[in-house]
Symmetry: C2
Subunit: 356 residues, 2 copies
């Protein structure tokens, strides 16, 4: 008995102690202007003393606002279900923090693409809005997005901003990043640049990166060779397979731009097994700058996406949409991180230049 947790104090308890009515407590704590400074201060003091916190459920029920955002990971169904794209995991941190800063809770759910859409619908009931994250087959979830729009659900998604998408999108400047990658490879003298990553409209982001690469090549007077493109989804195995297929092809190449670091890592494995040296024989650039990129051998040049900015922007945009404020699409710049996989002596030299 002794120090009973005295149940959970309610706004009535603190109202009683403050000598006011329950609604006044509610008003005071929510910052209403129609409560005097003295009263408010008193109420806040008592609330603190009692360790009082507003009951989230009651509050949400009454106000019809949950102050919760839902984060939906879409994954391609992968055999190894525990492997999550590291890039999105890094974004999780910044999203969480931004939510906390805004006083929002974050609900998490993972979702296999093929699963019942009902889950997302439920999530929309438990939260004020949804953040959609995930690579994967884009077409597959287009209809689902339409469904969301139809139901008036508020959501933002991470993805390709360039295409005329459904709903609000925040994403990296994939075309610009592709250009940077291409320009860098050209600068170190490479001419035959391969691209590993889905270039169909099933993966608009990868397509954008490829477009950027092509643009950079054309700007340098080069002609992108479609035979040097291989489809790949964002996984090591897929990268390995794509690179293997590339090696089996007839077209010679002296550089690879991989649509993600995971693809690049897989490709590096294939190249190493084939006895090719990097960057001497083949220079390689990835995308994302996952932690592993600085651990590979050689360390991987890559394009770093601004994950911290991404989290902030996503939450920001979603809240704006929830509060019916105007929002426009936002694009985040990517930054080239130079590492060993493209480090050759001098700015020319190409595949002929000896490294030492």
């Amino acid at each position: 008995m002794g120090r009973q947790p005295s149940a959970k104090p309610t706004s009535f308890d603190i109202a009683y102690l403050a000598g006011v009515s329950q609604p006044t407590v509610s008003r005071a704590l929510r910052g209403s202007k129609s409560v005097s400074a003295a009263t408010r201060a008193n109420i806040e003091r008592i609330a603190r003393e009692l360790n009082y916190t507003v009951d989230k459920n009651a509050s949400s029920l009454r106000s019809q606002r949950t102050h919760t955002l839902a984060l939906l990971f879409f994954e391609d169904p992968t055999p190894d279900e525990s492997m999550i794209n590291p890039f999105f995991l890094s974004m999780l941190g910044s999203i969480t923090r931004e939510c906390a800063r805004r006083g929002y809770d974050l609900l998490i759910s993972f979702q296999q693409m093929h699963n019942d859409w009902h889950v997302a619908y439920q999530d929309s009931h438990r939260s004020d809005g949804i953040i959609l994250l995930g690579y994967g087959d884009y077409q597959l979830y287009l209809t689902k997005l339409e469904h969301l729009v139809e139901m008036g659900t508020k959501f933002v998604r991470w993805g390709s901003v360039s295409e005329e998408g459904i709903g609000l999108t925040v994403g990296s400047d994939n075309v610009g990043a592709g250009e940077q990658a291409g320009a860098h490879l050209i600068e170190i003298g490479r001419r035959n640049i391969a691209f590993l990553g889905d270039a169909s409209d099933h993966a608009p982001e990868f397509q954008d990166r490829y477009d950027g690469l092509c643009r950079a090549m054309r700007a340098a007077g080069l002609d992108p060779d479609p035979a040097l493109q291989r489809d790949a989804v964002s996984s090591e195995d897929s990268g390995y397979a794509a690179a293997t297929s590339l090696l089996a092809g007839a077209q010679p190449f002296d550089a690879i731009f991989a649509a993600s670091d995971l693809i690049a890592i897989g490709a590096m494995r294939a190249l190493t097994e084939a006895g090719l040296r990097m960057p001497h024989d083949v220079a390689i650039i990835g995308f994302d700058d996952i932690p592993a990129a600085s651990l590979t051998s050689p360390t991987l040049t890559t394009l770093m996406q601004d994950m911290k900015g991404a989290g902030t922007l996503l939450v920001d945009a979603l809240l704006a949409r929830i509060e019916d404020r105007p929002v426009e699409q936002r694009i985040l710049p990517a930054r080239l991180i130079r590492r060993q996989s493209t480090a050759v002596q001098g700015s020319s030299g190409g595949r002929l230049g000896a490294v030492f």
Copy 2:
């Protein structure tokens, strides 16, 4: 107007359509025995047609059960705040999935150690229980745990099971894993084994791993040398610093057991810079088997924790505690993953054996 989303349907709506009262709808959908099969089927059909979902807030408010678990990450305050221990991130996936399977929502929040504990208390209002995850200064949050217990909050934490802890703990068999690491190093002929990781009671898990190592050494007739132990927290930089300090010391060593892969990776960088070859001059073992462990050069031998099992067990234990079912501490075995960093020819040889 046309196909108005017709607002959100309530249990009254579907009760009206089914020709029953609202409570009957509630009973039917919650699986109460006192509603006939026919009525239930009818109600379920109508509910599905209207896309009805139970209002989480109202339900929680009335029943005082939120059907939500909170996941609290504790981090040591790090300058680079975006870096989250990869190991815990992998666990996130399995926890999420397990929650979903049990019909629970998962609320996420990251928490700097030094932050106001009040936040966690609030979480206890929003969830039925808390899962605590995080390396970090253990002493620092002991008092906070006591606070939780005092308030009757249900929680589980991931950590060292061996110590007489507060609250319910699920964790790997750190002592056993340390023994495995030691035995393996001894088996390949190493005698002077260093340990990188906090061996104080600020980090019980690391201490357990060290204890295991010492046990294995003693079992082989070796005497653990305290001069070969260096404190380190789980980060690459800390590992680098610890290894550097070790190299500066007078004691020779031919093997390192690092308390985490991140530490090991940092240490490998220091060794490489010092011109030492692995495993020839120094064999090294990490802990966790993060994805990066298979990418280092040489690839890193490590002890894999059963993350999938961990997620399941954590959720399982927490639910048991919430439902006042009896639970006991659970220990998960770790598995030795042999890679290049301990791969020497033959089972003896030590630092003298040439690799080729």
